[in-house]
Amino acid sequence: MDFDKNKIKTKIAISKIKEENDIVMENKTKGILKTAATALAGVILSTGVVFAGTMVYENIWKTPEKIELSSGDFEEITKITEESKKENMSEEKAKEIAINKLNEIQFNSNIVGTNHYKEYDSNKIWYRFDTEDNYEISIDGQTGEFYDIWNHNKDIQDLNKYITVEEAIETANKYYKLFGFKEDEYEISKIHSNNKSGNDTDPGFKIDIEYCKKYGNLENYYERISIAVESKNKDIDYFRVVNIPFDNNEVVKTEQEAIELALNEDKKIETNKVESTQAKLMVVKMNADAYNRINNKEKYYEAMQTPNYPNEERDYYKVDDKVRKAWVVVITYEDNYGEDTRKRYTEGKYSYFVDATTGEIIGGHPLDYIYSESKR
């Protein structure tokens, strides 16, 4: 019988935590933060309109709220508060939804424990219930939607037993139907096999299968189902549903127009000379990355390039959960970074999200978003 190598890893991990703890005890420092304060940083909420061709479209981008976070006591920040309870359904209601879902998928619905928490930057509560059979089911406290279910039974993984991708898909499809999804509603968009060969089409001891909704040729990652199948019992390791409402907005802007809009935005800050651009129509989630970079480029890159940059010094913004069709424009800058690889791999490229309808800059991504998404 083989010895368990994971025991060594856990011993070393505990030892590192001990070292960390020793330093804290020695310095007698206590990072205390009881609240996460939200502050408006000179916010002007824009509610205007934008002209695109002959049509008038409502602006979707709003100047985001700056959120002040600190590296304080995370446990405290994620505790459910009386205030957060007011913005979420009751635990009883969430439990009822969880039990109904468990019954629907023919799982043991006897709840034996809970592990609820509040998001650190909002009042959303995630209700998590542990079942008698050692599964954990999560319910979104604000929408009441089922989010995921995890198999927490011990020893469900056998690293030496492999299943084929076809076998995994068969199991995943079984659960897909069991959870009540229609046959053509989602399509398999990605398969990842965990194995020694590193090849995603080879058999593995755990196989992750991702289903996405498709709009023409566009995959929407924000309407997806992720299922992992383990080899030991050929059963699910987890099942997750991500469902952020998609505007399915009209594509009005052309690729060339989007590139020009991105380049114009980029002129607001000093960068190396633009070497090339690339654009692709994609489904993206609105974010404040480009806004943050444009408004404080030095700090934006300093935070990225400085090891252990303090969290409380970083800029965080609250942006609406909006998923839109956008042109992702990747700008590549002239490479004069020399030996400074740190700069090259942070400042060498930038991706702008140009809304396909309004042409607004609705987000961004450091480096090449098109490439990184293709490797997701």
Partner: protein
């Protein structure tokens, strides 16, 4: 196993590559344990000796002579642990063939091992995913982002779980008398 490799061969970016050492030396250590023990030692105890061997090597990583054969260090540590186990169980067993001066330079970390063993027992009931996150973060030095990607969960989920288990382990460590 790669024969007579020196500790120096296992340094990568100034860090000891313990993962590779475990991979290369597991058969060697397993043989020493199996040959050096009899049925009076349980499988769990043998497994403890096995994991402690690599743990002690890792703890001593900055004090060992990097030009000395790793086989000697590991064999020395393993045999010392076997001897210690027999002593604890008040059993006698002949391991008199063990002569290794090198082991004098190794700190056997008894206190740390006892404490860590206690914590390990206390966290046995944790979910597999929590243990995996801690191992990936502290042992494999992966970022929260990469862990989230690997386990297909949100970064927030990783942070929450990591925070909670770290707090639990620290509590257990402090209860253990630090």
């Amino acid at each position: 196993m790669k024969e007579l490799k020196q500790l120096e061969d296992y340094y990568k970016n100034n860090e000891i590559d313990i993962e590779q050492i475990i991979e290369d030396f597991t058969p060697y250590i397993t043989t020493i344990i199996n040959n050096g023990t009899d049925n009076s030692i349980s499988f769990e105890d043998k497994e403890e000796i096995y994991s402690d061997t690599f743990f002690i090597l890792w703890k001593n990583r900055n004090r060992l002579n990097i030009n000395v054969s790793l086989n000697s260090y590991l064999a020395g540590i393993t045999r010392n642990l076997i001897k210690e186990k027999y002593r604890k169980l008040k059993l006698t067993y002949d391991i008199s063939d063990f002569e290794n001066d090198l082991i004098n330079s190794v700190n056997m970390c008894e206190n740390d091992r006892d404490l860590i063993y206690d914590v390990e027992q206390k966290i046995k009931g944790l979910k597999n995913i929590d243990i995996e996150i801690v191992n990936l973060f502290y042992y494999s030095s992966m970022s929260v982002k990469d862990i989230a990607k690997k386990l297909n969960i949100s970064e927030f989920n990783v942070k929450t779980r990591l925070h909670r288990i770290r707090k639990k382990i620290k509590k257990e460590l402090n209860n253990g008398g630090i």
